[in-house]
């Protein structure tokens, strides 16, 4: 069969289809490139940061090579070649002002390294690698830590370019010459923080279900006009700035806050025994439940809207009690809504940062606050990247589950 211009129909159809595909892709391409460059690449660069560790090998290239030959388990101090190489490396590094950065990097692994590098730097600056040999005793004279086997073991352990050290740190372990080992007891905080983040997110999700289910039910079963009016009460918090809601909760919950003042005025609480509801886990849970509740109600509502009220009446007409009719008929039909809302709320909750920071005090903070701390205060960016990677993995798994249960395309807004 031929088309009007004489080419076979199949061929000209294929050409038209190809043209259409090209046009669609041309429309999508700018955004796709934009998202890839300004979002996906940053995320990938974070994943890379969590294992990247070139600083030791770049700053001390000769020393790292010499250290290869040294057996760190022997308990003997490294020989003169290593010291000579180290001084040569350091002179270059001090010239480029890189030695303090290296000290900061190694300080994450062993405290005292930062000041050791800073202090020794000033003295090594005056040495000449060509004429002042041997260096072993001179360095130990500069700081006796250079005579400590442990110092050299730390340098050797962290001289690899791709390290699992940050990930081990993120799960309260450390990289040692003997392999991965647990951190000392007093430094183990991150696993507990992960656990707390998960448990509190679960509590928040649970209380969102408890509070959201009746509201979604009543919205789905009231006449349309009333339901639309009540919907405003759900959508207004949804649209209000996160910081407005967080500051509102600060106003409500603090010791001189609205709730305490009302309770004291009513005489329910003594003036000197005001409830402590902020700067602890309770504050985080209350505020975040309020902030995330609309995300639970909206998916539940859209599922419940599709459940026919006649099912319940049919069940009752066949002799079911109220409870049986609800539990055996209505509830199973509404489970997809609960699932969708729960995963949404849970994903949002474990990544929250601002609200716990303001109302959580020290006991109510999440792993996200730790990431923010490492980015802006302690500057241990590798560890921040490793924590972020772990969190991202958790979220992606949950998201995959969300896709299985509801599907990406069913995300609805407002």
């Amino acid at each position: 069969m031929l088309a009007a211009d004489g080419t076979p129909l199949k061929k000209s159809l294929a050409r038209a289809l190809r043209l259409q595909k090209m046009r669609a892709l041309a429309l999508i391409a700018p955004l796709l490139i934009f998202v890839l460059v300004s979002f996906i690449i940053p995320i990938v660069s974070m994943l890379f940061r969590s294992v990247e560790n070139s600083i030791v090998a770049d700053t001390l290239p000769l020393t790292v090579v010499e250290l290869q030959a040294w057996d760190s388990d022997s308990g003997e101090l490294t020989g003169e070649p290593v010291f000579a190489a180290f001084v040569a490396d350091m002179v270059v590094a001090i010239e480029a002002k890189q030695h303090t950065r290296l000290g900061t990097r190694l300080n994450y692994e062993q405290t005292g390294m930062s000041s050791l590098f800073r202090k020794s730097g000033r003295k090594i600056k005056r040495m000449d690698p060509a004429t002042d040999a041997p260096f072993k005793d001179k360095l130990i004279e500069v700081d006796k830590k250079w005579g400590d086997v442990e110092t050299w073991r730390v340098i050797k352990t962290h001289s690899v370019r791709i390290t699992n050290g940050y990930f081990l740190n993120a799960v309260d372990m450390q990289r040692t010459p003997e392999g991965a080992q647990a951190q000392p007891e007093d430094k183990q905080i991150l696993i507990r923080l992960f656990g707390r983040t998960l448990i509190m997110s679960l509590i928040i999700t649970g209380s969102c279900i408890l509070l959201g289910y009746p509201v979604a039910w009543i919205l789905a079963n009231l006449p349309m006009r009333t339901a639309n009016v009540l919907m405003i009460l759900v959508l207004l918090p949804f649209w209000t700035s996160l910081l407005v809601r967080t500051s509102a909760w600060k106003v409500m919950l603090q010791q001189q806050g609205v709730i305490n003042e009302v309770l004291v005025w009513l005489g329910m609480v003594a003036d000197d025994a005001r409830l402590v509801m902020i700067n602890n886990q309770l504050g985080t849970i209350i505020a975040m439940t309020h902030i995330l509740l609309p995300f639970m109600i909206l998916p539940m509502y859209s599922v419940m809207q599709t459940i026919q009220p006649t099912y319940l009446r049919a069940a009752k007409s066949m002799g079911a009690t109220n409870w049986t009719a609800f539990w055996r008929v209505y509830f199973p039909l509404s489970v997809p809504g609960i699932g969708a809302g729960s995963i949404l709320v849970f994903i949002l909750a474990i990544g929250y940062d601002i609200t716990p920071e303001i109302v959580g005090g020290t006991k109510g903070v999440f792993i996200s606050n730790r990431i923010a701390y490492h980015i802006s205060s302690s500057l241990n960016w590798g560890l921040a990247a490793a924590l972020g990677t772990i969190l991202l993995a958790v979220v992606l798994i949950l998201y995959w589950a969300y896709d299985k249960i509801v599907g990406i395309d069913n995300v609805k807004l407002g």
């Binding site: 429309l27 700018p30 940053p42 009540l230 500051s247 009513l266 960016w381 407002g414």
Partner: protein, 403 residues
Amino acid sequence: MAALTPISRKPLSLVLPTVAASGGLLGLFVGTANNSGLLGIVIGAALVAALAAFYIQVLKNEQLAKWISILGFLVLGFVFGGIPGAIIGALAGWFYHWFTYWLYEGRYRQRLLPYLTPGQVLWHYSFRVICGAIFVFLITPILVVMPLSFNSQDFFTFTPEMLRFEAEGYSLKHYRDFFTNNEWQRSFKNSLIIAPIATVISVSLGTLAAIGLSQSHVPGRRAIMAIMISPMIVPLIISATGMFFFYSDIGNWLEGTLGLPKTFVGYVKVILAHAVLGIPFVIITVTATLVGFDRSLTRAAANMGADPVTTFFRVQMPLILPGVISGGLFAFITSFDEVVVVLFVGSASQKTLPWQMFTGLREQISPTILAVATILVVISIALLTTVELLRRRSERLRGMSPG
């Protein structure tokens, strides 16, 4: 709804104990405030029950009973708690009058199915009370902020003057501070620079891509969709961490190699980061609008000689405009609200309004935050109304019944 069930008067043995119980509840609050909870319960219950019996047995005039209740409780409230007490009293008086007659006349049955048992009726109303409490939980924090922002003192709580409704308890000084303080004005201006530009970028790119995605033959549609939605799924803190590393390198390159001024580079970084965060919202809303779009319209336009660009602007765009605008509003509010990314990516000269609020909340707690919060709530009410109107218009245009 019309009456479903014929109603009849209920015996006093039902009305009086119920009304007394509710009176006892209020009595408990008044009692504890005056150091004796138990006495309060007893007096409250007795008072309300006696009133109910008096109305039903003696007075038999609903309108008169209403005014007696309201005025009586108003005076009582004033004696116990001044002006705020009087207001609560008047409301309580109206409520007890209404509650008494609602029970006595059997009006509570009026709108329910006739075959419900008393237990089911009780559950029906308790359920509504529970839902009402949850709605109160949802809306109270937002409502509480508003009157507090007119506080004339630097407190985060209601002062006695405010509760007595005295004029000197209220002032606009926090608003004045917001409009005259340099810090706040600069951050407000920054927000007004960053959010609209980021919105324009995400709306223009997002709309094009959504139209592309809605064509029938797109290879790898699911993967593309997943990539474009990802900024919404990845927790902000992770996006912020990734962007922090990446944009500081990009920024150094722009400043060092191209020699661009530092402030300009800072704005570019924040705007690009915010534009990415807004894209999923545009994609989702525009795709949703395009689902109901009638493809034969574009074909008809092409048939009559319009080129694709004309077709887009004259036929397609007017029809999907509501979706585009509401996507744009979502993108705008995302950028306008965003703190974490701007904290990580921006520098002090890009301080936005949420950033300023965040420092305000964490470090120097100034009540100006409440004035800002009130302004933002008003803005979000305006946005919510716009989105809702647009949604209805869109559904009308596409021939669906408004839902």
